[in-house]
């Protein structure tokens, strides 16, 4: 068995996931068997896949040919360093989610657990196949399997009208994206008819057709990743799906789209044109700003996280754009820096966003409540979830010493070199984009403070929250695993970067690895220690020391004479949960400052109202600017076409007959 290559093991892992899923159908109603046996089994497979990918990083690319599918059209598979980074992400993040899911899925909630188990594991296996595919055929089959299985997972609770609607929207945009991807592949074959990726690499496309292929890929993968304006499915589908599914979609599935975009733009296309980077950068910036602004004003915790995912995808797209610009000007060292930021942010985001989505799942189970306005003070009842969520929140806000900071810091570092670009406009405009990235990072911090403070801190806003219970053991383990990944990504950046450097090197021919080896694991100085360096351990030690010192000071220096009295209470004798800042109130300044960015419907109480109430509804501009006009146009065209349908068979026959006659008369040789 020593001859078993990593790609073979990964194939076996995909088959094992499928087998686990099928086992779920053996006893579809046996919740105990499925959740306590099959999901942990799936987690174990994920662990194997993760370690195999970690091990194969830096090694040579391996290929395999699977003789399934259509005759003469086998599946080509390939495991190279780029795939390995994303398989690593898929494997390790899925471990946490699967373990969590073992404790999450209960009896009698929507779809039968056996079916859910099948869909979940098919989803995992298809994502793995997307990452391994080496021809357009295998890629599209896996891609569509992924879309379909996740659609069924989103509509688990299909008895609710709005969940079916969310599922439909998701499927629609997934298909629009898939068409764009298919067309992009078609363009890249250059008419040679060879749909294997090797064949596409061998094509020399003219700049025009290469640009067409790139833009189609950007649109297609952007639809899956949630780039503006194709983001609308994300805030609908994520709240609709069960939390482990939202975690998997946001944490891993969005990254498969990023993988596809990287694969097309850096591997399959030879040429890189500088304005591609500008397009990606602009779209990414708009997406990031849009996502973060909307995430600050959401009052549903899962919607808030969904918009935050849009923001993070936007940041990743900004990084890709920057890489493309540097790459186009052959500044490979800087391109490698930006690419590292992209890959690092993919890893970081998938861990912390899955963690946060799973936390919302625990909160949802404990309280049956998704609206932020009805939560609060849960740290007293759910300390485990609250403390583990804190790790995710810190990472998501981009604060040291956790993972989000590293990637955002790397991204900003690469921005600092953009004045050196040899293009007169770019070197002035691109640094401005850095300012917007910083704004996004700050607003992301705001959104995360809102998320954490309103759910976990303060007093309980509803009396029912007193009965909330902490997560079960399985859930705790799953959360702790993801928090551990977040922590490791935060404090060991050099170690991680020297592993994923192989992917950067493969795509760009340059990496950061050499410099990092000279420095040691505790320090990250991507260009040179004189220019900028980051030592996460110092942050960690300082923070820990400050906390411990503060605690010690309070314990030992405080005199201990407790005097309970009405403090300066501003004239309020009673300070109940109602006196706290609400979710709406907290984000009111943002709504004010960025008012033109939102489409708001507000109702203010007046002095004469018998039952005064205040309400605000924030809607997405893109519905009114893009989606509704398109939908209306389709409706109008349909009414015109309905006129053809008179209901009389004679008339229908007449249509065919006239067509036949016209064709006979017109199409003369």
């Amino acid at each position: 068995m020593t001859s078993l290559l990593p790609i073979d093991i990964l194939l076996i892992a995909a088959c094992a996931w499928l087998a686990v899923g099928l086992l779920g159908l053996v006893a579809p109603r046996n919740t105990r068997f499925i959740s306590k046996t099959l999901f942990p089994l799936g987690a174990a497979i994920g662990m194997v896949a993760g370690f195999v990918a970690l091990d194969s990083l830096g090694g040579p690319a391996q290929t395999a040919v699977l003789v399934i599918g259509l005759p003469d059209l086998p599946f080509h598979l390939r495991l190279d360093n780029l795939s390995a980074v994303f398989v690593l992400l898929l494997g390790f993040v899925s471990v946490g989610i699967s373990i969590f899911a073992a404790g999450y899925f209960r009896k009698g909630e929507g779809t039968a657990p056996g079916l859910l188990c099948l869909e979940y594991h098919v989803f995992l296996a298809s994502m793995l196949m997307v990452l391994l595919a080496d021809d357009a055929y295998a890629f599209m089959v896996a891609w569509e399997t992924m879309a379909l299985s996740s659609f069924f997972l989103v509509t688990t609770d299909h008895r609710h009208e709005e969940i079916r609607r969310a599922g439909f929207l998701y499927l629609l945009i997934a298909h629009v994206g898939a068409i764009a991807i298919l067309l992009s592949f078609g363009v890249m074959t250059g008419g040679a008819g060879d749909y294997s990726f090797a064949g596409m690499r061998a094509q020399e496309l003219s700049p025009f057709w290469a640009s067409v292929a790139f833009l189609l890929a950007l649109a297609g993968f952007g639809a899956k990743a949630g780039l503006v304006p194709l983001h609308v499915w994300l805030p609908e589908a994520h709240p609709a799906a069960p939390s482990p599914v939202s975690a998997m979609m946001s944490g891993v599935m969005l990254k498969t789209a990023i993988y596809g975009l990287l694969r097309v733009s850096f591997d399959l296309l030879h040429t890189t044109i500088w304005w591609w980077g500008v397009v990606a950068l602009t779209v990414g910036l708009i997406t990031a700003l849009f996502g973060v602004l909307y995430s600050t004003v959401q009052n549903d915790m899962k919607r808030l996280l969904a918009y935050s995912s849009i923001e993070n995808i936007g940041l990743i797209a900004v990084g890709i754009g920057l890489t493309l610009i540097f790459h186009a000007y052959r500044m490979e060292g800087l391109a490698a820096l930006a690419m590292t930021a992209v890959l690092y942010h993919c890893l970081a985001h998938s861990a912390f966003k899955s963690l946060l989505f799973l936390c919302t799942g625990s909160v949802l189970h404990a309280t049956k409540e998704r609206s932020l306005g009805k939560l609060g003070g849960l740290i007293h009842r759910m300390p485990w979830v609250a403390w583990l969520a804190l790790a995710g929140v810190i990472a998501s806000a981009g604060l040291p010493p956790l993972s989000g900071f590293v990637s955002e810091w790397l991204l900003l570092q690469s921005f600092l070199f953009s004045p050196g670009l040899p293009h007169p406009w770019l070197n002035m405009v691109v640094p401005v984009a850095a300012a917007l990235v910083v704004l996004v990072a700050a607003l992301a911090g705001f959104a995360m403070v809102k998320f954490y403070a309103i759910i976990f801190l303060g007093q309980m806003r509803e009396p029912g929250l007193k009965d909330a219970h902490d997560a079960g053991t399985w859930e705790k383990v799953g959360l702790a695993w993801l928090a551990l990944i977040t922590l490791l990504l935060g404090i060991l950046p050099s170690t991680v970067i020297s592993r994923i450097d192989a992917a950067t090197r493969q795509l760009l021919g340059a990496g950061l690895g050499d410099k990092l080896h000279e420095q040691g694991w505790w320090m990250l100085a991507p260009i040179s220690p004189e220019r900028a360096s980051y030592e996460p351990m110092i942050f960690l030690v300082t923070i820990a020391a400050t906390l411990l010192l503060g605690r010690w000071l309070v314990r030992h220096l405080y005199h201990g004479r407790v005097r309970r009295t009405a403090a300066w209470d501003c004239g309020y004798y009673f300070q109940g949960p109602r006196a706290q800042d609400t979710a709406e109130g907290f984000s009111q300044p943002i709504r004010r400052i960025f008012e033109p960015m939102f489409r708001m419907e507000r109702h203010f109480p007046t002095a004469r109202d018998a039952q005064p109430y205040y309400s605000v509804k924030v809607e997405d501009h893109f519905w009114h600017w893009l989606y509704l006009p398109v939908a209306n146009a389709v409706g109008r065209v349909s009414t015109l076409i309905v006129a053809l349908q008179g209901g009389r068979i004679a008339v229908y026959l007449m249509y065919s007959f006239i067509t036949l006659l016209v064709l006979l008369l017109v199409a003369r040789p």
């Binding site: 309905v642 349908q645 008179g646 209901g647 009389r648 068979i649 004679a650 026959l653 007449m654 065919s656 007959f657 036949l660 006659l661 006979l664 008369l665 003369r668 040789p669």
Partner: protein, 222 residues
Amino acid sequence: MNSAIPFSAQLINLFAAVILLLAFAMLAQRRVLALINLFALQGLTLCLATLVAAVTTGQSHLYYSAGLTLTLKVLVLPWILHRLVRKLNVKGEVEALINIPTTMLAGIVLVMIAFNVALPISELSHTITRGTLGIALAVVMLAFLMMITRQKAITQVVGFLSMENGLFLAATSATYGMPMVVELGIALDVLVGVIILGVFFFQIRDQFDSLDIHHMERLKDN
């Protein structure tokens, strides 16, 4: 010019002309049972035409085609249709949407168009039957016209079958018939189609107490 055409080709042309004549007769026929008989007669003529072509050219698969036509279009299908008519009790007149003389005039125009269209194609063909291509096309169009102008569902089926006759004639005249596999497939399709339509007739009558297709107009989606 006429003397240059061999006897067999003249015979085929004769049969083809008879088929065209029968197509006009079907267009003019008001009674359902007579219509079915005309259809059987058309099938028989087609069978004879194919047989002559087979004897002349010695192509063995044309014999099979002729046999297939004989069993299916002269015996089986008319028998099924007769049974259907008797069971459904629709002996009366066939109501046409457009009156018969107008339909006939339209038919003549169609025949002219068909001949005109078929002329360049038959020049490319080297078969002895190539002169009949225009007739075949005309039969297809006349059958189509019959389907459009008739009210009763059963006459539409007859029109559909007659159209298939025209296609068969076209295939024979242009290339001495289609490959055997295709022909068998089409024959099976036609048979199955008629059986399914027979089932539909019963359903339609149960639903609407009539076989008039204008009752189905309210099935449309509003």
